[in-house]
Symmetry: C2
Subunit: 230 residues, 2 copies
């Protein structure tokens, strides 16, 4: 199979020196890539600058990206020629629009004016005691994948923090349906530390549990191999 | 000499999964530490999670930190028992206070209410098209160093983006006086790429130029050794 993995986390620029980043080491993506390669599959690996990368391998190609727009531009052509995608990257929900001092915002009579602005300065100055950053929602990358290639097998991820299993599974199942995913791997940040990594592969008819990154990689590959018809 | 180096960049939490980070690889700090150690000095190395670290050495101690508060708590006792500090870390000017949807902010009659709030949720939800993040200025770490230890030799850094030499030197000299630094190393992001790294050591009576990270390390060490009286 030709498997596409996204790993690590995006970074959205506030200015030339500041970013909003998502916490993600890329360790799970690395483990999955190395496991899929060891099982004879071809892997395309899309990751961020600081993300961990798999060991070099003749069947591995790596694509570095920075922000959500860059991810979209890189993924679209790749999604069209792969059998499966494991979309594990932590993608920023919002991207910075404009940052200014609190006083300027407080005296405005119509805050929508700030949604049209963008910072011209390359490094936003820092004299005011308080600042305000306006952000705009980014496109939902996972929702575009099946529109680019309806026959690709999609494995999505859902990371929540400190929720019940019931809530976690509900949110994952909503994502499964909405994004036409084949499975959603749901996990809670409080249950991840190093290689100990509790995760649940949520399918339309049940869940399967894994307790390490290695087991997650195995569960996903078994699922993909079952769903692959050639 | 006992030399303290800060390197890399701080990360300020928006919530459990999102941070505001400063672009900094920690490469310069790494080069300086290895050079100072090779010249027989003792090095304490304070850096962020993703910062590059020097090779292990019997005279090297490393202190990992995350945000500005953590940096302050770690530095204060260290500053008191070192001969010199080279403060190269990119420190966040602002730290997140509160994030909420644009509509909530737009209909408020007094925006100062948001400066008193903090997010109780562990992962801020992402339904609104626009969000607003309120931020508060962080303490200026460089300004505290000589108050903790008036006899420490302080080398500060100033990174600007796309400015004239005149502007760069003025801003550096202001910092030199204000923070009672022994020198400020001034650089422009546009003049840094990989090991090519133009920088100017700004002193009260002139500037000295370096064009690689290795040369910056040499300039700084010569300066520190000249100023050290034992």
């Amino acid at each position: 199979m030709k498997i596409l993995i996204t790993s690590g986390g995006t970074a959205e620029k506030i200015d030339q020196v500041r970013d909003i980043t998502n916490k993600a080491t890329g360790r799970l993506g690395q483990v999955m890539a190395e496991y899929f390669l060891a099982k004879g599959h071809e892997v395309s690996f899309v990751t961020s600058k600081h993300g961990l990368v798999p060991q070099a391998h003749p069947k591995l190609t790596t694509y570095p990206i920075t922000n959500v727009q860059d991810l979209l531009d890189t993924l679209e052509p790749l999604v069209k020629n792969h059998d499966a995608i494991v979309h594990a990257m932590a993608v920023s929900d919002y991207t910075p629009l404009y940052m200014t001092d609190f006083e300027t915002v407080a005296k405005s009579s119509d805050l929508t004016e700030f949604l049209q602005k963008s910072n011209l300065e390359t490094k936003i100055s820092s004299h005011s005691d308080y600042q305000v950053l306006f952000l705009k929602k980014t496109p939902k990358v996972i929702g575009l994948i099946k529109t680019w290639n309806p026959s690709i097998q999609l494995i999505g991820f859902k990371l929540l923090v400190n929720v019940t299993k019931k809530q976690l599974f509900e949110v994952a199942r909503d994502s499964l349906i909405k994004n036409q995913a084949s499975a959603i791997v749901a996990n809670d940040l409080l249950e991840i530390s190093g290689d100990q990594h509790l995760a649940y592969m949520v399918l339309s008819d049940g869940e399967k549990m894994a307790s390490t990154k290695q087991e997650i990689a195995q569960l996903i590959l078994e699922h993909l191999e079952r769903g692959h018809n050639d």
